[in-house]
């Protein structure tokens, strides 16, 4: 199968996917409830879609095509309320967060579909360790070349959204020291990281054909890049975020990305360049490890800056676009988080654990945070 044609879509439309944790309300460990939950929600009519994921204790919800923040939050609220209600009928609960705080990955079960079986056989324990929960944001692009341009221009904002969404400090019962430990698991996959620097769909097509000839990939699905083009939707998909603890935060991050995309495409504040990637993995690490307090390097000027400050600057820079896209509410949510000490979800989780000294109780409070609002 060669590369699909890029289905153009309306510029700057949004789609949000959230991978959620299904936990049992007895011990708050991950519980295999995806199939049961899907059976109940399939009886409902929802604007958003609900799908299974690779392990049976994970469920993915995705909005339809949204114009902006208001649409996203309305759809997410509706599907969240429906899922929470159905989960309660099954003695299950749902929560956000990039990792489950204390699950034992060897206990996870693979959801039974041919593709998931195949992935599981290929990647072995990695596929179970991949029991991590992310937020993906799609941004609509009018043509494929614009999509690739935007993909690379966006790369310097990858640390921003990692820091804003970071919610995975605990893995397998221990504090990793990271704000987002989830991305360390993603990095173990052979085709993760950044996309190759190609700015036209033609160049990208020839890269894809070469890769396919090697037999390493069959389709775009085999690339686990931080940002990847999604030709069938006509979007680029930003995949670095942890699932935030609340849908308000998830919607706000989507709004931030939408505003940045519009700003980049309409004002061209800079042109993307291969050398932008010199400091890419370093900056990404800083964001994962220290979150909003991470210090990132501008590869062009060699200047260093705190992510907290850079995000605030960006929010100011995109202000007119936020007004145009009616995303002010989302951005003000983020401004508030930046101004609050420990305003990140990871800090919230650490504070809960410091108070309770008991991770199952932390997960329970995580559920409350997801369910309310």
């Amino acid at each position: 199968m060669s590369l699909q044609t890029f289905a153009a879509s309306k510029a700057f439309t949004l789609g949000v996917e959230l991978e959620l944790q299904i936990v049992g309300s007895h011990d708050y460990d991950l519980a295999p409830g995806a199939a049961d939950l899907l059976r109940l929600t399939s009886r409902r009519k929802l604007a958003a879609d609900v799908k299974p994921e690779i392990t049976s204790s994970m469920i993915e919800l995705s909005t339809g095509i949204c114009d902006g923040h208001h649409d996203v939050i309305t759809q997410l609220r509706e599907v969240r309320d429906a899922l929470v209600h159905d989960a309660a009928k099954l003695n299950l609960r749902l929560c956000g967060g990039g990792t489950h705080a204390f699950q034992d990955w060897s206990h996870r079960r693979i959801f039974d579909t041919p593709r998931f079986r195949q992935v599981s056989e290929l990647y072995g324990y990695l596929s179970k360790q991949f029991t991590v929960f992310g937020q993906h944001v799609h941004i609509g692009c009018t043509d494929p070349d614009q999509a690739l341009w935007l993909l690379h221009a966006m790369s310097r904002f990858v640390p921003h959204v990692i820091a804003l969404s970071a919610s995975s400090p605990f893995v397998q019962g221990t504090d990793t020291g990271f704000q987002s430990a989830r991305l360390n698991s993603v990095f173990a996959f052979p085709l993760s990281g950044r996309a190759p620097f190609t700015l036209t769909w033609q160049q990208f097509g020839s890269y894809f054909d070469k890769m396919r000839r090697t037999g390493v990939v069959e389709s775009m699905k085999d690339f686990y890049w931080d940002i990847r083009p999604k030709p069938e939707f006509g979007t680029i998909e930003i995949r670095v975020m942890d699932t935030p603890l609340s849908i308000e935060r998830a919607a706000a991050i989507a709004a931030y990305l939408q505003c940045v995309a519009r700003w980049l495409c309409l004002e061209h504040p800079f042109e993307p360049h291969e050398d932008d990637y010199l400091a890419y993995t370093y900056n990404r690490f800083q964001a994962c490890r220290f979150g909003l307090d991470g210090e990132v390097v501008d590869p062009r000027t060699a200047e260093r800056g705190l992510l907290r400050d850079l995000i605030a600057q960006t929010i100011s820079a995109v202000e007119s676009h936020a007004i145009e896209l009616r995303a002010e509410q989302g951005l003000s949510h983020l401004r508030h988080a930046l101004a609050t000490p420990g305003g990140s979800d990871a800090a919230w989780l650490r504070a809960a654990q410091a108070r309770e000294q008991y991770l199952p109780e932390v997960v329970r409070q995580q559920c409350l945070r997801f369910e309310s609002g």
Binding site: G24, H26, D27, P32, R39, K89, L90, N91, H107, E361
Partner: protein, 407 residues
């Protein structure tokens, strides 16, 4: 307690289950056989324990349930398991999913009524039939918990099996108390004498259960329950409550069950502790399964085996039908509901103790009920765990990659 220990010590070389030598040999045999069953067939180890018990019964050393040391171990094990069972029961779930509560009430009530009718058709006298019907309405949480635990089962069928069994146990114990009161009330002139001990037992069980639950919550709040030392404290608290219950002649089944329910539902905070309170609890549980396995005598059971079979078939059919009827409303698939209904088969130590207590209070009705009950237990002790395992496997809720599978 000293009597109990003395009986273990005084005749050290007598080959009875109730002596130190007998107990040691049986424990050795049960542990080995349990491991064999697990390695060779991947069946739960408890099947090995029950099988050893059955062997003991077959060679004529059956257990009456009145041996002091053994009874202590059985009561202790049951207290632990019922406490765990109660502590899994989330009452908020029943509020959020009232159809689940409805299917619980339906499966217990219909099974009880159907069993009563079948037993009456076999000319079992009304009192004995009613006692058996109440006992048969309950599903043993003991066997379910053990199979679920050993097979690392998780999922909707598992959750509901555990919830329905805890609830049915609660109904049965309460119904048994009311029934006993009713029986004595029908004795002219004694009704005041009869009512007060029943009320005392009922309210006392609730009070002691709540006190134990509250005490355990206090312990759990301050200590990590996954820690060995905290575990000993928990174990001791449950056994202490059992002693109080026995001294005050409260229900030894109701107190731990209510304590568990209290602990689970007094606050939303989750509590996690090792299964059966770690290794000390595991020993008691093994002894209990061997003892229940050895509870029957071939000569007493053989004549009533047909009645027992009819009773069990009716019970299984009504329970399955009740669960199936309310499957969709309670959010369950039909396949899952079949598995759930069929999984509601076990009757075990709980049924035995209910029967024993009934016989003590009502010897004549007990004399007719006990052989049927023991025949049913003999029929179920090896089949029920296998059926439960099969149901969980069919429902896809057993993790085939469980950590402790045979190496």
């Amino acid at each position: 307690m000293t009597d109990a220990l003395r009986s273990l010590m005084t005749k050290p070389w007598a080959l009875q289950p109730d002596t130190l030598l007998g107990a040691a040999l049986l424990a050795l045999l049960a542990a080995l056989f349990g491991e064999l069953v697990w390695r060779a067939l991947r069946w739960p180890r408890m099947l090995g324990y029950c099988a050893v018990g059955s062997l003991v019964a077959l060679v004529g050393h059956s257990v009456s349930g009145h041996e002091p040391a053994l009874r202590l171990a059985i009561d202790g094990a049951l207290a632990l398991l019922l406490f765990e069972s109660g502590a899994r029961l989330n009452l908020r779930w029943l509020v959020r999913n009232p159809w689940l509560l409805a299917s619980s009430l339906a499966e217990a009530a219909l099974a009880g009524i159907a069993v009563w009718m079948v037993l009456r058709s076999f000319a079992v006298q009304p009192m004995a039939a009613a006692a058996l019907a109440i006992i048969a309405s309950a599903v043993s949480p003991v066997v379910l918990q053990r199979v679920v635990g050993e097979m690392h089962a998780a999922g909707q069928v598992t959750e509901r099996l555990l919830a329905l069994s805890a609830l049915s146990m609660l109904y049965a114990v309460l119904a048994m108390q009311l029934f006993s009161a009713g029986l004595l009330l029908s004795d002219p002139g004694t009704w005041l004498d009869a009512l007060s001990p029943v009320l005392f037992s009922f309210c006392g069980s609730i009070l002691v259960g709540a006190a134990l639950g509250e005490g355990l919550a206090l312990i759990a709040r301050r200590l990590d329950l996954r820690d060995d030392n905290a575990m000993v404290l928990l174990l001791a608290a449950v056994l202490l409550a059992l002693v109080v219950a026995k001294t005050l002649q409260l229900s030894a089944l109701l107190v731990p069950l209510l304590a568990g329910i209290w602990l689970r539902n007094r606050s939303q905070r989750p509590w996690v502790w090792p299964r059966h309170f770690g290794s000390a609890g595991a020993v008691l549980v093994m002894v209990m399964f061997v003892a229940v396995g050895a509870a029957w005598r071939l000569d007493a059971v053989a004549p009533v085996i047909g009645i027992a079979l009819a009773m069990l078939a009716t019970r299984a059919a009504t329970k399955t039908l009740a669960v199936l009827a309310l499957a969709r409303a309670s959010g369950l698939g039909i396949g899952q509901a079949m598995c759930l209904g069929a999984g509601l088969l076990p009757m075990s130590a709980t049924a035995w103790l209910l029967g024993l207590d009934f016989s003590v209070r009502h010897p004549s009705a007990g004399a007719q009920a006990m052989p049927v009950l023991l025949a049913a237990l003999a029929l179920l002790e090896l089949t029920a765990p296998l059926v439960v395992m099969g149901c969980l496997r069919t429902a896809g809720e057993i993790d085939l990659h469980a950590r402790d599978k045979p190496r």
